[in-house]
Point group: D2
Chain length 150, copies 4
Amino acid sequence: MVFLPHRHQVQYYETDQMGVVHHSNYIRWFEEARVFFMDQMGFGYDEMEKAGVFSPVIEAHCTYRSSVRFHDQVLVFARIEQCSGVRLTVSYRVIDADDHTLRAEGETRHCFLNRQGRPVSLKKENPAVFRLFEALVGQDNESFIAGQPG
Amino acid sequence: MVFLPHRHQVQYYETDQMGVVHHSNYIRWFEEARVFFMDQMGFGYDEMEKAGVFSPVIEAHCTYRSSVRFHDQVLVFARIEQCSGVRLTVSYRVIDADDHTLRAEGETRHCFLNRQGRPVSLKKENPAVFRLFEALVGQDNESFIAGQPG
Amino acid sequence: MVFLPHRHQVQYYETDQMGVVHHSNYIRWFEEARVFFMDQMGFGYDEMEKAGVFSPVIEAHCTYRSSVRFHDQVLVFARIEQCSGVRLTVSYRVIDADDHTLRAEGETRHCFLNRQGRPVSLKKENPAVFRLFEALVGQDNESFIAGQPG
Amino acid sequence: MVFLPHRHQVQYYETDQMGVVHHSNYIRWFEEARVFFMDQMGFGYDEMEKAGVFSPVIEAHCTYRSSVRFHDQVLVFARIEQCSGVRLTVSYRVIDADDHTLRAEGETRHCFLNRQGRPVSLKKENPAVFRLFEALVGQDNESFIAGQPG
């Protein structure tokens, strides 16, 4: 399976008075990339919620490497780092779409909840999706960069 | 009943690269003021949703009079302009908390929905809250300004 | 010149606990569409700011017609309604990208400021961009819909 | 010096369709608390920027312990963990204002930039503020909790 990175066009409302993107937005871009990754997996996050499994963030981390400005385009690469039945770890790399400079790196950790908000094992609740995540651990979409015009 | 205006401390993340508050945030301040108004009414919006009545925005309007900057404090005055059984209109004035300069004015219009997302009449669904809104039409909290140190 | 509408993929962080997109985000989508429109004009908003002309919103209006949900795609059509030297009016239509249902309509009004924050006439400050806007008044990208698969 | 925690009233627009506060907002609350902390220090972040020193976030981390809902109030405790001339580390604890349940914990790291965006040493650029930060390392406002009615 070939996974494309998520492309984000930086919006004016994402900037702050320092003239660059406010740091809280990167956490949102991670979510955009995670959702896009699941779409490419063939099982979207919207479908997962409809199937009664929710996956809230229990930890988020971002290291900011260089500034992103209004009108820039960034590519966000998501990668499943780990998926046990009860925890999911996804890592992210944000790079400039033009010159591929690293802008930020980060990680989110997730648990799985049912409709009642009770922690569940994805392995038991939805074995098919669990196996998908498991099979994709470490799957890299960085190679995408090599082949693109930039 | 004396209604206080909602006091909002302007945050850094609300600014954009023009060095002032991004215009989309005022729509959020209107919501803050509306929620605070209902708290003072004695029937909070959280309780209204728990009682199964939702009140989405069907129209929003804002006129921006002068810029608001990081670290400013603004007062947002909300006023019920109209409440039929099926529609609610609330108007807002945003003023600088220090010198009372007018920053913005606006209005939101709302309908009422039940848990199933069907339009309902508040008058039938929750007559007590309807009568509260009705009794507060035109109720002004501007007089508050006169008496405050500023 | 053919103008494409702006395509927006609805994100999870744009929803609220009513299960639909929070109304404040539409004001942001209008900005996205305005920026995209100017990109297609051949003179982006980023270039306009670099040239020392800023165009803050002095009025915003939105009528919400039907709900937009997570994972939906919407098309936002922008249209220059009026451009005098000192004021710009842009209107917007938000439609579902799949079935073309109208989701929202709105308008923003803008003035022009120089780097010092003083109101200026775009006609004097940047006659070329002024003539572009003027030539595009009423230019419709709705026809785009007719020809697309949807 | 006694430092009060920052009190945040949770807004409707901060929720997402999971019915709880979207995780990106906590990063914003950290900023609110950091700004409030500096206000109490007697040298606000607005004054710091006016003095030509900017303090962007170079790393952010948050661990989410339990959900926060619309209409909740949270207290955010900020603590200076470290301040060298060139780096600042601030930690945060978010607790429910009513029952003091821990909601989240986190940390942000910052560098210092001058107006030209060049890294500077706060120690050299603004020794007075540097000494303030240094003197406050480890200063706890948790004791505040013990004495408050809750």
